[in-house]
Symmetry: C2
Subunit: 347 residues, 2 copies
DNA sequence: GTGAAAGCGCTAACAG
DNA sequence: CTGTTAGCGCTTTCAC
């Protein structure tokens, strides 16, 4: 392996000079040496050892991003956009996938503690790992949340999205479109609605239900895991062999589940939007190109990513700065899945 | 920051002893010291600096995987499966996304050269980066290809999938299902069929066409970029305002494009499979749950991932071993999109 | 402008 | 069983 030392020795100068030149450090290196160094480095096939520079300089120039999976188009989109944005800023993005498992989540967060990355963006928070987050706060603080609500226990930078409000807007919208019974498919909201329990999202959902003129007991949850197949099974089980649909409005928590939901409805002989109206979160390309284009509560993903990158870079520069909080506004995009045509005819 | 040295000093022993204990090195450390070291390390909140261990030990315990994007479910699936498999083997997977850009591809490969990862799995090869691959061969050799054909110029480990044969099997299948004019949507095959030019895949495709009893000029290509939207536009442009479909059989190169293709056909008033039959590669969950379940040339992804992990670990262990080549067999799964019902009625 | 020197934090012989 | 001794390859002050 060719090292800085090798280059320095064949030239007869010091490693520090070579280092300066090869890293394009500001001023002061003679033209002559500069050229010679570049030339020799190339000839010898010198390749810097980044592990060594990271150790010496104390920075890896890498930012981690923690996601639950990468199969969901939403995360894929964030990762691709963040990757591009960070590489423009001279950093590289390193995705960590936790598969919804706290052990993997902790392992990913360890990368920050162990100095494998300079900072970490977390798009997945589970209570089980709270102690790790506390440790991070003590040791580094270079963690940025992209989440729905502020993690109150510890103070980190936050980039917030208004998914909670989405539950209100979507349930209200569906009610206005004529739905009489509205359910949430998947996620914690579905669980809480089914098993009982409260959360801000549930509250927002119920607000929408009421504002839409429906009784609270006209709503419910359909519990399923975070996969296309689970959603399919759950909906099929509930709707199979029914003459009329148990719920005529569905708010589906993620795009993967929409796929399962739509297929299940189709299998059970129910049409979208005439029998059942469907809406979801995140405006992926798939939402427009779906056989029945989907009504969505759409986040400004590009802006969110920019905010994440900015926040991260700022935090890296000024570690002691007090935590910042951004909150982004989503918007309702109405398409055929919730009866766009009906709406337009009314007008 | 608490270092090994701090732990050693508060105990009054040497850093090497602490290192041994904390890394669970085989034999020989007294029970007494062992416990004391663990305790003090915990109390002080010691966290190992992995950059430093990587430098000292010469290994990062990280394997990179280079993909063109992560939005395509196929890559997402590989990444998730590889991630799981590698973490069981004590390695962590680091995805690199090149967005089909040679500059980003080279940058990702640099990570291997610069010792940021111990090995790299490449699922994306572009000729433009050939020089980088040559460099890698000289300097490291720890590159494993998951590809369709062997990269002949340089000898690396290969895990091959039979996508080429897929073009033959799918075109033959569509012909047998009654298609008279068959086209390939997207990818290099579509380009070569349109602009002229040869490749093994094109040859296989034409073999299938002939074997299916069709004339060679009854086939064609529909060129588009690797996105849902591009495929949509390309097909819409070709099929719009036509009374009968220009091609009644479509082999679509990736799942994202299928989404665009199906939507375009629907928009143009053509039904699947009665007017146009569709088939694609890779059996993702989406293929079964699609409104019209998709006929696919299905790869054994789990086995492929196992082979990739095994190959990588073996290469890491024995760098001098001659390159190995695995080839996996796919299988045809017939579903409604190519007229499964029709087939069954015939029987 | 350039070199000398002191680390970054950890690992891994080797010697006792 | 444990300490000593060298590094790993690079960065970065500080003199000259």
């Amino acid at each position: 392996m060719i090292t800085l030392k090798d280059v320095a020795e064949t030239i007869g100068c010091d490693v520090s000079t070579v280092s300066r030149v090869l890293n394009g450090k500001p001023n002061r290196v003679s033209e002559a040496n500069r050229n010679r160094i570049h030339e020799v480095a190339r000839q010898l096939g010198y390749i810097a050892n980044r592990t060594a520079s990271s150790l010496a300089s104390g920075s890896t120039h890498t930012v981690g991003v923690l996601v639950s999976n990468v199969f969901d188009g939403v995360y894929a989109e964030y990762i691709e956009k963040l990757d591009l944005a960070f590489s423009e800023a001279g950093y590289s993005l390193r995705p960590f996938i936790c598969h919804n498992r706290p052990d993997k989540e902790a392992l990913a967060l360890d990368a920050l503690l162990h100095h494998e990355v300079d900072a970490m963006i977390s798009m997945h928070y589970s209570r089980e790992c709270e102690d790790v987050y506390v440790r991070i706060k003590q040791h580094s603080g270079k963690l940025i949340f992209r989440s729905v609500a502020r993690i109150p226990e510890i103070s980190f930078d936050h980039v917030l999205i208004d998914l909670e409000e989405g539950y209100r807007e979507l349930s209200l919208h569906l009610a206005r479109q004529g739905c009489r019974r509205i359910a949430v498919v998947g996620g914690s909201v579905a669980s809480l609605l089914t098993l009982g329990g409260k959360s801000d999202s549930v509250q927002f959902f119920k607000d929408g239900i009421r504002a839409g003129g429906l009784a609270e007991d006209s709503s419910g949850g359909i519990v399923c895991a975070d996969e296309q197949e689970s959603a399919y099974q759950a909906v099929k089980k509930l709707y199979g062999k029914q003459k009329s649909p148990p719920f005529d409005g569905l708010i589906v928590q993620s795009i993967n589940k929409v796929v399962g939901v739509c297929r299940a409805l189709q299998n059970c002989g129910f049409a979208i939007p005439s029998d059942v109206k469907v809406a979801t979160f995140s405006d992926l390309p798939l939402c427009r190109l779906f056989p029945v284009p989907l009504t969505v509560w759409a986040q400004p993903v590009q802006e969110i990513c920019s905010a994440l990158v900015e926040t991260t870079l700022r935090r890296l520069k000024s570690p002691e700065m007090p935590p910042t909080v951004f909150k982004f506004k989503s918007s309702l995009i109405v398409r055929e899945s919730s009866g766009k045509d009906i709406m337009e005819k009314k007008k």
